[in-house]
């Protein structure tokens, strides 16, 4: 009788198809260190801008049947709020791009953090 090779090709401890046996040996694929930089992923601002003003404006619109002339105050407040917000954001973006460090600032952007990390590089861990 001729034995088919498939019969011998089941999951053995040699092939990767077998379930691993505890304890799984640790293999170091990358050096166990932190990077020298931080990524900018977490820096996206999740600030709800001008929601209050928008709600007030909507209330006024509903009252006056969407006639803008009767809600000049609310409209001006909403516009001013958004203008102020976009100006603040653009100046922040520009400052962030430059990565200028402001002494005593609590909340740093990732560029500022990278600047700091560059000037004070973390010590190499001793192995």
């Amino acid at each position: 009788m001729r034995l088919h090779p498939i019969l011998f090709a089941g999951p053995s401890q040699k092939s990767a198809r077998a379930p691993q046996r505890e304890p799984v040996p640790f293999k170091m694929l990358l050096p166990l260190e932190l990077k020298k930089t931080v990524s900018g992923k977490g820096d996206k601002l999740k600030e709800a801008a001008c929601m209050q003003e928008m709600a007030v404006m909507f209330a006024c619109f509903k009252k006056s049947e969407f006639d803008q002339q009767q809600c000049l105050k609310e409209v001006a407040a909403f516009k001013g709020c958004y203008k102020e917000y976009s100006e603040r954001m653009s100046s922040q973006r520009e400052l962030g791009k430059k990565g200028i460090l402001v002494p005593g600032e609590k909340k740093l952007t990732h560029r500022q953090l990278n600047q700091l990390l560059k000037s004070f590089p973390p010590k190499k861990s001793v192995k």
Binding site: A48, A49, M51, M54, A55, F58, F61, Q68, K79
Partner: protein, 238 residues
């Protein structure tokens, strides 16, 4: 390699402008020209309005800018008293296939129509108070119409959990102006074939300046929809 050497050689005579200025000045500026221009980026945009020049003189920034090279002004950049940036913008929106002269004629004809109808109304009005209320300047009417047509909010499609929500939010000044002009022109082009553009444009402008008409209704409809969707407003920030 050869190219690099040539560049270095070009920069050795230190008094040449092209070598020094970029180093002195890394001013990133708003470019009014399309990208391929024969002038490098450090050439400043011309300041051609008297008001802008006065502002510069007041803030004592003129001597700084005076030493820098400036691009030549384009044909439409004039210090004429009749130059109105908004009118210029509208003309550019009306223009098709680069036929500026034609677009200008159409807009000016519309202004003429506005003027005629307003003067007619002026003479029909009986009391001086009623006469004083009638605006005769077509440019002022255009400004008013665009101001009234500008939307305050915008609906943005944002996908959450497989469903696309129309999320209301604030609009930038630029986008709002663009939409106002676009809507005015769309309302104008929705006309009978026998009615000519200047007539219809004049009517639309007068309507919008009066805070009535198709365009203002369209703006209010957008605001209504924004109001109906206000519950989704927080999706914008998540």
């Amino acid at each position: 390699m050869a190219n690099n050497i040539r560049n270095i050689n070009k920069c050795i005579p230190r008094n040449s402008l092209s070598c020094i200025v970029p180093r002195l000045l890394t001013v990133q500026q708003y470019r009014e020209y399309a990208r391929p221009t024969s002038f490098p980026d450090f050439f400043q945009n011309p300041i051609f309005r008297k008001e802008d020049q006065a502002k510069l003189i007041e803030s004592a920034e003129l001597p700084k800018i005076a030493a820098l090279p400036v691009r030549p002004p384009a044909v439409y950049q004039t210090s004429s008293a009749y130059h109105d940036p908004l009118v210029n913008k509208v003309i550019n929106h009306v223009m098709e296939m680069g036929k500026k002269q034609m677009a200008r004629n159409l807009v000016e004809k519309a202004f003429e129509n506005i003027k005629r109808s307003q003067i007619e109304r002026y003479h029909l009005a009986s009391t001086p108070e009623a006469k004083a209320k009638i605006e005769l300047d077509p440019k002022k009417i255009l400004h008013k119409a665009i101001e009234n047509a500008k939307p305050l909010l915008i609906l943005q499609p944002i996908k959450r959990g497989g469903i696309t929500y129309q999320v209301p939010g604030p609009i930038t000044e630029k986008r709002s102006l663009f939409l106002a002009i676009k809507w005015l022109l769309e309302a104008t082009n929705e006309k009978e074939r026998t009615v000519h553009f200047p007539e219809q444009f004049a009517w639309e402008l007068l309507d919008a300046a009066n805070n009535t008409g198709k365009v203002v209704k369209r703006k209010q409809d957008l605001h209504r929809q924004c109001e109906a969707n206000r519950a989704y407003a927080h999706y914008r920030w998540q």
